[in-house]
Symmetry: C2
Subunit: 218 residues, 2 copies
Amino acid sequence: MITLTEENYIKAIYHLGKYGVNNVSTNAIAKEMETKASSVTDMVKKLSEKSYVDYKKYQGVTLTGKGKEVAVNIVRKHRLWEVFLVEKLNFSWDEVHEVAEQLEHIKSKKLISQLDAFLEFPTHDPHGDPIPDKTGKIKKIDKILLSEAKIGDDCICVGVQDSSSDFLKYLDKNNIALGTELKVCHREPFDNSVTIRIKTKELIISNMIANNLFVKVS
Amino acid sequence: MITLTEENYIKAIYHLGKYGVNNVSTNAIAKEMETKASSVTDMVKKLSEKSYVDYKKYQGVTLTGKGKEVAVNIVRKHRLWEVFLVEKLNFSWDEVHEVAEQLEHIKSKKLISQLDAFLEFPTHDPHGDPIPDKTGKIKKIDKILLSEAKIGDDCICVGVQDSSSDFLKYLDKNNIALGTELKVCHREPFDNSVTIRIKTKELIISNMIANNLFVKVS
DNA sequence: AATAATTTTTAGATTAATCTAAAAATTATT
DNA sequence: AATAATTTTTAGATTAATCTAAAAATTATT
């Protein structure tokens, strides 16, 4: 049996290891989990004994195949529930995370396969993140950050890097949603702010915003 | 903050105290929770300190107003989720309990109010049990056990006492569902088995079955 | 390469929930 | 009413997850 806490550690290690980082450090996990490094060391030993992670003292951890399976399944559940909350229960995209954090731990294969079907097998969650299929396969889309787009590019908004409530509300306020088409008009060399055009309206976006918005160049 | 275990104890005390029993005994709780009496004593002290129950040593416990509120809210969530599972995710009525046991602990007011609306404010769960409203009000219907119905009564099936998978599957097999109309034809004095007629078909039902099926005399 | 700074682990303690075995209180029976 | 049977509580231990403070190992800096 896997405990709720173990699942959360595995998820944290998965997210931290996502971008090429092979050995996730104790401190990184502690920060992500909002706990102390000593607690992480204890838990990591336990996860290692149960062979969810490979761990050598002072060397950090990597998920094993078994660990990755658990992680991807949690991510799948989290994202399917997010779709449910937005599509069926009228949650806005900045409200779903907290609830999905709870729902992702419900254990029932039938529940998830039926939910998947009920939602008509969605491929992406409300933030544009891909939903792993039942076998754990995740299909990547070739998205780039708006801050990396070239002047003159016609883009379509496909995701967010940060999904904090403040950021998502900013996007709502400025009528930027997944699927929104925009053109990159100008990048100011001094602060890397970006002028974009949505339909006929121009909007100036800070570098920080541009760094958290994924687009696909069309 | 209330823990998951505390919620489960409160729920157990609620269900045990439902039928007039005022002081729920330590042993009764232990049996319901599949734990030991000594564990119950400890927990009951804690619940008493947090004023979810009134407790005097050796005297059993009663839920306080605060405790009842928690209990009814869990029951509401449990039953709403059961409706969701059956109506939207095509679960059969004997499959929902285990999953609902998990879902009932998800904490989000918005989730429940939106789910309620999505399901179009159901008043009863798939087993015929009433769903408390947001204020905790439960409306009773004047149901009786089939074993208490008189010969010649025209009844409509409105609920089950026991909701074990075995019992529910028996009902499915014999085409008895909520809303099924039946006539009480005969009661055998020797074993209290009951002959009923559904549409044109007669069926003999043991006393044990009749003791677990709620009907409304029409 | 030695020392300083940082990171990680160890040792020992704490809280929540549980257990077993024995003691205490209550209830049932003679 | 005294004794037996049952129920409940107490005492002390255990497991999971956490913490603080100190020790050990690693990494960075002079």
